[in-house]
């Protein structure tokens, strides 16, 4: 499996994602510039965290107009896996690949800390190595991670099991329904505020994020559902 890591001006978790995939998981990963117009040859796309375009205007708002984004949209429409982490999640919502939006944290401050999460949906290509309702711990690091969607959208997300991760002990940012990560209806585009790539090595004190990557790399047959 060959994974594209999209690099926007201001992305800064690109290296972390690369190291998690390459050094830790032994996967083939490659940086792809926002200026590129093709994703040919890639089997999965990941959009890393950071401050694309300085988070000016709204997080992810300007990045979504890059050359590469129509290609990411096509890639997603073809049912191939797309993962957006933190700023990547924000970009996916701005691009309309995921519903809703991410607002300023209720506490108005940037927060970097480990949060408890429940895996709400373990039947996605990214989470099928977790147990249903498993409690895991992943770091967050964001100022704008408060998930918002209108009532009907929220109801639909819940009804269709599109909420993948939920904050468990404490809601750090005011997200509606304690949402930390959601997947699209077809089950191939995941956006999450917590950083699984920061939790893949025992040396750094946490390996709870590793299975997001190993699940995808193992490709446990869940894509068949994604491709309608």
């Amino acid at each position: 499996m060959k994974i594209a890591i999209i690099v926007f001006p201001g992305s800064n978790c690109d290296v972390d994602l690369f190291e998690a995939l390459h050094s830790v998981c032994g996967a083939t990963a490659q940086y792809v510039s926002y200026q590129e117009k093709s994703l040919a040859g890639f089997d999965a796309v990941m959009i890393p965290g950071g401050f694309s375009y300085g988070d000016y205007l709204r997080c992810g708002a300007i990045a979504r107009f890059s050359n590469i984004m129509p290609e990411v949209v096509r890639f997603a429409a073809a049912g191939k896996p797309v993962l957006g982490i933190c700023n990547g999640f924000q970009i996916l919502t701005e691009a309309g690949l995921l519903p809703g939006a991410l607002k300023r944290n209720n506490g108005l401050k940037f927060i970097c800390k480990t949060t408890a999460l429940t895996v709400e949906n373990n039947e996605t290509p990214f989470t099928n190595q977790y147990q249903a309702k498993e409690k895991i711990y992943l770091p967050i690091a964001h100022a704008d991670g408060s998930y918002y969607a209108q009532k009907d959208v929220l109801a639909q997300l819940e009804a269709k099991h599109q909420v993948v991760f939920r904050y468990a002990d404490e809601n750090p940012n005011g997200s509606l329904n304690d949402i930390a990560g959601i997947i699209n209806e077809t089950g191939n585009v995941l956006g999450m505020m917590p950083h699984p790539e920061r939790a893949v090595e025992a040396l750094l004190g946490n390996v709870d994020g590793l299975r997001v990557f190993t699940a995808l790399l193992a490709g446990n047959g869940y894509q068949k559902e994604a491709i309608r």
Partner: protein, 743 residues
């Protein structure tokens, strides 16, 4: 914007506007008579004023700084460049420097702190290094009035705002609170980078005909006279006259960082030298680059990218707009460099050339606005000798009997002490810093030092910032020794061998002989400790005139120290690990109460003289502890600092579910004594014999780790029991509670 009509050279001579810019009459006369042999024009006078300011020339502190050791076999680059470099083997180096942004932060705390961070990051990547960590050292007034709370919130937000956006983790630092910093907070930031030794850069402009290129953000009227402003003390009156505040753009700097590193790592053949534009912007970067290489330079100011209309030569040269760098590019490669920067969406413009003649020639709107010898700005500064006098308060103190807390109710005292802001948890602030980005942070904020893994090797570095103005105030020499020693003990407690330091010397007005004496003595003390530890000073920064309305801060030298772990897995944290492990106190405890947290808490003021101590003995102790750790004998370690043994013991349990049962061989109040150079370590039962043999009488067994969540203490004149869950709560909630309280 109105274009100011500039004074003629004759008018300058008569009206003496330079006095307000910080140039003395003696200096002006020297420039006119000895250096130029004519009257300097408006622009030239401005250049001299800013380049000869303390901030750029160190004219007052230079003599003192020479006392610092700055070489050993590991030093690849000492003071004099953007940052110092130290060899860590495998062809790699660690690059680091600290810088103060006290005055800008007092005026505009968010932007001041943010641009302080931005500036120190540029110093690191101007050397060709990838920044890998940030630390800070912050000193504020007591958390009681809304102004202080505002300053704290904004400064912390500014530091986080810049570092987080850059993707450089803020991994540690220190924060203290004392009324002396209320109007003059100290905001020091340190940046650490990693470099391939083959890619080391210098800020030099050599090779006749080579291009001087400007890259990055456009120039505006920001912070004009910022550098000279930093060199004169504040009074409320001046505060209203300040010039435009510099605003940072970390997004721009992130692009600049990536572009510059691409240039320095992949295109060394295009590049001759690189330097950031920091204090005194274009003038200081360009003339330093020329003077270091013994070159001349001409600049065409019309080519400087400008954000505002009608800027004068003076304004263009002195602007402190952020996120700009100056390059010297080999003739013929200008296009390639331009293209490289354009790919990042950045301006890159040829603004001048290196010349044969040794003069500094500036053209603006068809006129020559400056024509002076390059070295006159950088090398001919009149160094000022200063008068020194031991402060009267010290003489008075030495005649008084030493302060002693008397018999204490230990548990109650300890509970109260855990709530002192200087000791209480800083998590509510450090949590707003991204401490993990780059995924190399093995130990982040909240331990003795941060530990950062070096990828592709088995190594790690440990980093800490320390300073204790209270001790330096009572005795600058001994306090200076302790400042360096405390940094070293923090590294050793993290498992690292200290390598080198950077510093920020935050002092008052050096024209006051007592302040100058403090500066000199503190540097002597720091230098002595550095020599004993073999940790040279490879970079640093001086911030003088830290006074407001005539009252100086405590003299507060900040030490930033970097250490090496040859095996990352040997890192240590203070947290105890398992029931049954034995706790040892390493180092002797005396009656050291002058300038301590207990003195401040109980009396509200500082008094007394510090007891001097032997650096030789202490440094030998550090070496033994490192040896013990390398032999795998230590499970956890913590050095003792503010609050003494009592506080350290609680800190070792805060992040565990365990307790301690101990008996200490001295009186209750001595639990709060702050004798420097001490540690507590925990040792697994099967390692105790080997540990005892190695440490000998230097280590005293205190007791063991228990499963009960309490600190049970026996001491010579009593016993105490502290509920650790309660203690943790007090420690965690103290600062959030103070920050929320109404005035």
């Amino acid at each position: 914007m109105t274009v100011e009509l500039e004074m003629s050279p004759q008018e300058i001579k008569e009206k003496k506007p330079y006095l307000e810019w910080g140039l003395s009459e003696k200096e002006y006369d020297y420039i006119a008579q000895k250096l130029l042999g004519r009257l300097p024009n408006y622009t030239e006078t401005g250049l001299f004023a800013v380049m000869w300011s303390e901030h750029c020339s160190y004219k007052k502190s230079k003599a003192v700084l020479r006392e610092f050791p700055n070489k050993n076999a590991r030093v690849l680059q000492g003071p004099g460049e953007g940052a110092g470099i130290i060899d860590i083997g495998d062809g790699q180096g660690i690059v680091f420097k600290a810088e103060s942004h006290n005055h800008p932060s007092a005026v505009e705390p968010y932007a001041g702190a943010a641009t302080g961070v931005g500036g120190i990051i540029r110093d690191i990547f101007s050397m060709g290094a990838r920044p890998i960590a940030l630390l800070d050292s912050l000193h504020f007034g007591e958390i009681k009035d809304s102004r202080t709370k505002y300053l704290i919130n904004e400064v912390v937000a500014g530091i986080g705002g810049y570092g987080n956006c850059m993707g450089i983790p803020t991994v540690g630092g220190e924060m203290t609170f004392d009324e002396c910093y209320a109007d003059n907070p100290l905001v020091n930031a340190m940046c650490v980078g990693i470099i391939e030794q083959s890619e080391m850069q210098k800020g030099q402009a050599k090779g006749v005909g080579n291009a001087v290129m400007y890259v990055g953000a456009k120039t505006g009227r920001d912070g004009i006279h910022g550098a000279t402003f930093a060199s004169t003390d504040f009074s409320d009156e001046k505060e209203t006259q300040r010039s435009a505040v510099q605003v940072g753009d970390p997004f721009m700097e992130k692009l600049l960082l990536e572009a510059c590193l691409l240039l320095t790592s992949k295109h060394q053949d295009w590049l001759v030298g690189i330097q950031d534009m920091g204090a005194a912007g274009l003038v200081s970067s360009s003339c330093e680059m020329a003077s270091k290489a013994g070159s001349g330079m001409t600049l065409d100011l019309d080519n400087v990218p400008q954000r505002e209309d009608g800027m004068s030569a003076y304004e263009i040269m002195l602007s402190e707009s952020q996120e700009r760098m100056l390059l010297c590019v080999r003739a013929g490669f200008e296009k390639q460099v331009q293209e490289l920067f354009h790919n990042f969406g950045l301006d890159a413009v040829v603004i001048g050339r290196v010349t044969e003649e040794k003069n500094y020639l500036l053209r603006h709107r068809g006129e020559i606005v400056t024509d002076i010898p390059v070295t006159s700005l950088t090398d001919d500064v009149l160094e000022e000798s200063s008068r020194e006098k031991k402060p009267a308060r010290m003489l008075a103190q030495s005649r008084k009997p030493a302060w002693h807390p008397g018999k204490l109710v230990v548990a109650a005292t300890l509970r109260k002490m855990l709530q002192q802001p200087t000791i209480a948890s800083k998590k509510s602030f450090t949590e707003t810093y991204d401490s993990q980005v780059r995924t190399n942070t093995v130990v982040g904020p909240g331990s003795d030092a941060a530990v950062i893994r070096i990828r592709q090797t088995n190594k790690a570095i440990a980093i800490t910032t320390d300073g204790n103005g209270r001790l330096v105030y009572l005795d600058p020499f001994v306090g200076g020794k302790i400042a360096v020693l405390e940094a070293a003990t923090n590294l050793v407690a993290s498992g690292a061998t200290p390598l080198a330091i950077t510093d920020c010397l935050n002092f008052g007005d050096p024209n006051d002989p007592e302040v100058y004496w403090e500066l000199h003595q503190a540097v002597k003390g720091m230098a002595a400790a550095c020599r004993q530890l073999d940790t040279p000073v490879i970079s640093g920064n001086v911030s003088l005139y830290n006074e407001s309305n005539g009252t100086a801060i405590y003299p507060t030298p900040m030490v930033g120290m970097v250490g090496l772990l040859t095996d990352v897995h040997q890192y240590l944290t203070p947290t105890v690990k398992q029931v049954g492990s034995q706790l040892f106190l390493v180092g002797e405890t005396g009656n050291d109460f002058a300038g301590t947290e207990i003195q401040k808490m109980l009396t509200g003021q500082l008094s007394g003289s510090l007891n001097d101590f032997s650096l030789t003995t202490t440094v030998q102790r550090l070496a033994k502890l490192l040896q013990a750790n390398q032999a795998g004998l230590l499970e956890s370690a913590h050095d003792l600092s503010e609050g003494g043994l009592a506080v350290a013991l609680v800190e070792m349990t805060l992040h565990s579910q365990l307790g301690l049962s101990l008996a200490v061989p001295f009186a209750g109040e001595q639990l709060f004594s702050e004798t420097p150079g001490r540690f507590v370590v925990s040792v697994a039962p099967q390692k105790v014999a080997a540990f005892k043999q190695l440490l000998g009488t230097d280590a005293v067994l205190l007791g063991e780790v228990t499963a009960k969540r309490e600190l049970a203490l026996k001491y010579q004149d009593g016993t105490a029991v502290l509920d650790l869950e309660e203690a943790k709560k007090l420690w965690e909630e103290a600062i959030p509670c103070l920050m929320k309280s109404k005035d």
